[in-house]
Each structure stands twice: as structure tokens, then as C-alpha cells.
């Protein structure tokens, strides 16, 4: 086995640049793919859409990785925090109770998604924390429970919503990369800024996540500010995920599949993984969304929502994970 501890700044930079180049290549390639003729206008729409897909992949994959390190659990994923279901509650509540009148129209659905998602995060944190400290196991459990509760809330809200609202909400809930982000520069820029800033934050904490693997006490004794790290990471990942959900609704399993695949190939070092998982996550969702955009037409549908594809891939992957002794997790 290669001596992995020889991670130098040079090698990290090289990995980053290589993968970033790959991301750019995939982005360009995806904009060329599609059933219809490539006019400049079509290209512009595709360019923004594929970029959005990449951004979502980056946010969810690196967020999922960070959470898995944080709670030392391979099943951790942004959605255990309840962000997607909370976002759903926010969006649906807004429509059913016309709360979206309080926001300017271009902002309302993303804002409601973000507010709902973050509010749920705080609830989960409130349940899981004790004396300001987060216990990993309780955090997972709290997330699962809050998700179930949100699901119930959504059902209640269905009673107040019109059939059109329900239908459009169910569509949103499948998770799809939007066509019209190009007309929402405010949302696009702010989401990009949040996701990139969050990613840099996680990158700088790579070695701390590594140390966490030896247990809280050992990590703390090494100088890692364990409790502060947990809370900060929790908040940052929440924001990154909320940004992704604000754009595309809840896209599941990216935060589960991509980090694990990356660990298999690149090993457990989080300093490398944050870069790798982020960029490969971007590629994954870009490819998935392009497949959804093109293949759908051949099976008689306009498009398949990308969340459906990731869920179909994610389900079996999840089972595979449970069944085999995952390498790296005793």
C-alpha cells in the first residue's frame, strides 16, 4: 500500500486541478448533449442547468462526507438532519397558507425551502444537544424522528392544499434541476457563494475529521476543538444543503453514494476526500441530470426528475452498504 501520509500540498493541488478540469470537461460535454438542436439560446439554458446540477452535487456530496466523519457513521447524509423534509414543509406551508406573499415572487419558494430546512435543523439540534454538545448517535436518531414528523406535517398540509398544489409539490419533492435558474440570478449567485464557501470551510477541517475517527476524547486531546467543530460543521452542511434544496428540491442519496465510492478509491483521508467527493459529486449529478434530460424523451416522458434516478440508484446501494462489511468502517 502506498504511503498515503505523504500528502503534500503539491499532490493535493494536483488532485484538485485534475478533477476540476474533469468537472469542466463534463460540464461542457453535458451542454452538448440533448435531443434538440444546439442553438445559442438552448446552450445558455443548458449551461446554467448543468452548472446548477454540478453545484448541487458538490454541496450534497461534500456535505454527506462531512456528516459521516462527524457522526462516525457511514449512513449519515444531509437528509438525516431533516433538511429535505423541513424544506418540503416550508414550501408546502407557504403555498397552502399563502405565506409566499411575504416574499418577492422570485425568492419565495427557495426562501421557504431554506427557512423550513434550517428551522428543522435547529429543532434537530435542540433535541440532540445536551449542555451545548452534540452526541453523534442521538443526532442521527433525532434526524430520523424529525423526518418522520415532518412527513406527518406534510400530510396534514395536504388537507389544506388544492389538488394542483399537491401535484406540483409532489413534483418538486422528487427533486429536479430547474430549467429557469438563468432567470433567477439572485438565487444562483447566493447559492453558489454559500456552497463554495462551505466547501472551503470543510476542506480546512479535513485533518480534524480524520482525528475524530479515534473518538472524541482522543481527538480533543490532539487539539481538535471537538464540540465547536461539530456545531460549526452541522451549521455549514445545513446551509449548503439548504442551498441545494432551494434550487432543486430534495435530491437524495448523493450524499451517501458519492462519499462511499470515493472512500473506496481514494482511501479514508478527509483532506483528500473533501476535494474528491465534492468534485466527483458534481460530475455525478451533472451526468445523472443529463441522462434524465435526454433519456426521458426516448421512453416517452419529457424528463425524469433527477431525484428519481438517484433514489433508484441509491436504494440498492444502501442495501449493498448494509450487507457488506464496508471497508474503513469496522
Amino acid at each position: 500500500m502506498a504511503d498515503r501520509s505523504q500528502l503534500t500540498a503539491g499532490r493535493l493541488a494536483l488532485t484538485f486541478l485534475g478533477l476540476a478540469a474533469l468537472v469542466a470537461l463534463v460540464w461542457a460535454g453535458c451542454t452538448m448533449l440533448g435531443r434538440y438542436d444546439l442553438t445559442p439560446q438552448v446552450w445558455r439554458f443548458r449551461a446554467v442547468r448543468v452548472f446548477a446540477a454540478g453545484l448541487i452535487g458538490l454541496a450534497l456530496a461534500s456535505g454527506g462526507l462531512a456528516l459521516q466523519g462527524l457522526v462516525r457513521n457511514p449512513l449519515a447524509e444531509p437528509y438525516i438532519l431533516g433538511i429535505s423534509s423541513g424544506a418540503g414543509v416550508g414550501v408546502l406551508m407557504g403555498r397552502a397558507m399563502a405565506l409566499d406573499a411575504f416574499f418577492p415572487r422570485w425568492l419565495s419558494e427557495p426562501a421557504l425551502a431554506a427557512v423550513g430546512g434550517l428551522a428543522t435543523c435547529f429543532v434537530v439540534w435542540g433535541i440532540a444537544q445536551r449542555r451545548g454538545r452534540l452526541d453523534p448517535f442521538v443526532l442521527l436518531l433525532a434526524g430520523v424522528i424529525v423526518n418522520v414528523f415532518n412527513g406527518a406535517l406534510i400530510l396534514v398540509l395536504f388537507l389544506f392544499a388544492s389538488p394542483d398544489d399537491i401535484a406540483s409539490f409532489v413534483g418538486w419533492g422528487m427533486g429536479q434541476v430547474p430549467d429557469w435558474l438563468i432567470t433567477q440570478p439572485g438565487l444562483a449567485w447566493s447559492s453558489t457563494a454559500i456552497v463554495l464557501a462551505g466547501w472551503v470551510f470543510l476542506l480546512l477541517r479535513g485533518s480534524a475529521f480524520n482525528a475524530l475517527g479515534m473518538g472524541d476524547t482522543v481527538a480533543a486531546s490532539l487539539g481538535v476543538p471537538v464540540h465547536r467543530l461539530r456545531i460549526e460543521t452541522f451549521v455549514v452542511v445545513s446551509l449548503m444543503t439548504a442551498a441545494a434544496v432551494a434550487i432543486a428540491g430534495p435530491v437524495g442519496f448523493v450524499g451517501l453514494i458519492v462519499p462511499h465510492a470515493c472512500r473506496l478509491i481514494f482511501g479514508p483521508d478527509h483532506r483528500v476526500l473533501v476535494v474528491v467527493a465534492g468534485l466527483l459529486g458534481a460530475i455525478f449529478v451533472m451526468l445523472a441530470d443529463t441522462a434524465c434530460r435526454t433519456v426521458g424523451e426516448w421512453v416517452g416522458l419529457a424528463e425524469i426528475p433527477v431525484g428519481v434516478l438517484t433514489a433508484l440508484a441509491g436504494g440498492p446501494f444502501f442495501i449493498l452498504l448494509l450487507r457488506r462489511r464496508f471497508q474503513g468502517m469496522p
Binding site: R72, T217, S221
Partner: protein, 261 residues
Amino acid sequence: MSVLDVRDLHFGYTPGRPVLRGVDLDLPAGSLCSILGPNGSGKTTLLRCLLGQHTPSAGSILLGGQPMQSLSAKQQARQLAYVPQLPSSAFAFTVRELVAMGRYAHQGALGLASSDDRDRVTDALARTGTLAFADRTLGELSGGEAQCVMIARALAQQPQVMLLDEPTSHLDLRNQLLIYRLVRQLTRERGMAALVVGHDINLAARHSDQLVLFREGRVAARGCPDDVLKAPLLRDTYGVEVDLWEVGEGPPLVQAREPLG
């Protein structure tokens, strides 16, 4: 001069129920001190306070002459290293990578290793006899080997004080001896102080410069093994009658007398 100085330490998890009731400890450089005492006497709590996990309600802890609260986490880590009871790693890092994490407190934001870091890691591996399996994962090692890896990691921190939490409870006879001897040698060679919380009285007595008997959140007795291993002291601490057997040069062998009183 003492590298670790604990004065009149008080702490309780809930108010009104103190666990530590005025602990005084003094750890000189280059010495090995063992803390012995019955379960529930507060040894683990003391350890946690020394690691900064709990804030004492009264008293002070001085690390290298400075109050511990005035030190940042990284500054503390450069002085104090911790070896857990059971070595574990949630991720499949190699031994070398785990030991390299000991350099965390000496590194910058990205945590990239300098050549100095790498040298210290290799040194720590060599000194603890773990260089041979530097590229294996923790799961592939025996208990004793894994514990040595943890000590190597702590060593890589270049600490003034090493805290060991029952490091041999789960090890066989040979490995128990191995670990104690290793720690003892490290204190001699590097001027490092070691504080070992343990259960095995005899093992501790044979290798420690200082023994501390802990009872009900207080130091019941403190001194060199010969002074501390006295039947009345041990009886008061453990609530058991003991027999002391002289064996050669070292401190006496302690054995609980049956039937229990």
C-alpha cells in the same frame, strides 16, 4: 520541577454531589505516577478534568506552570497527550497515518505534514516498536500492538505529560509488562512525565516512581510505592484486608485476603 500541578481540585457532575473533593497532585518531569483506587472513586473524572473535558468548580490545574484554562486546545495538546483504554479508529487509516495525527497540534490549517513532522512520526514508530507494521490498519493488530500504536501517536505530540487511562486492563501478561516498561523508558529517556490510571496494584507499584491512592474523590495517600503500600492504607482505600509479600528488592506484592470481611 513539576510539569503537572493539581491543587485542591473540586468537581461534581451535579451541584451538591461532588465527585472530586479537593485533589492535590504533583507530577515531576521524567517520572511515572500511577493512580490507584476503587471503582467510583473519581479517577476517571479526574482524568477528564485533566483533559479539559470538565471545568472544575474550584481549584486549579497547572500545565508546565501555566493555568490550563489559559491554554488553547492546540497549546494543551502540545503539552498533554492522552492514551485511551481501548485503541480504536472508525476509519481504515494505516498505523503511520494514525501516528501522524499526533502532529495535529503542530500543524497549520490544512494539516499537511512537514518533513519535521514525518521524522517525528518515524521516530515515534521506531521507539514503540511499531515501525514494522506502519502500513497495516489498526484492525489487523493485536491488542498490545494497537496500544503501542496509541502510545506512538501520543509520543508524536511531543508532550510533557502523557495520560494513560487503564492502558493494560485488556492485555495479556506479556503485553501488560511491555506497555509499562515502554512508558517507564519513555519517561526516563525523554524527560516526559506519565500519569497512569490503573487497577493492577502490583504492576503499577513495580514501575512507578509515585503511587497515589484515590478514595472518595480525594487523595488518600501519596508517595513512593514502599511508603504507600501499607496494609492499613490499602484497607481503608479498598475496604479489603490485604497481605503484603516481600519479593526481592522492589515494593511488596499485594494480595487481597480471603474470605472478604
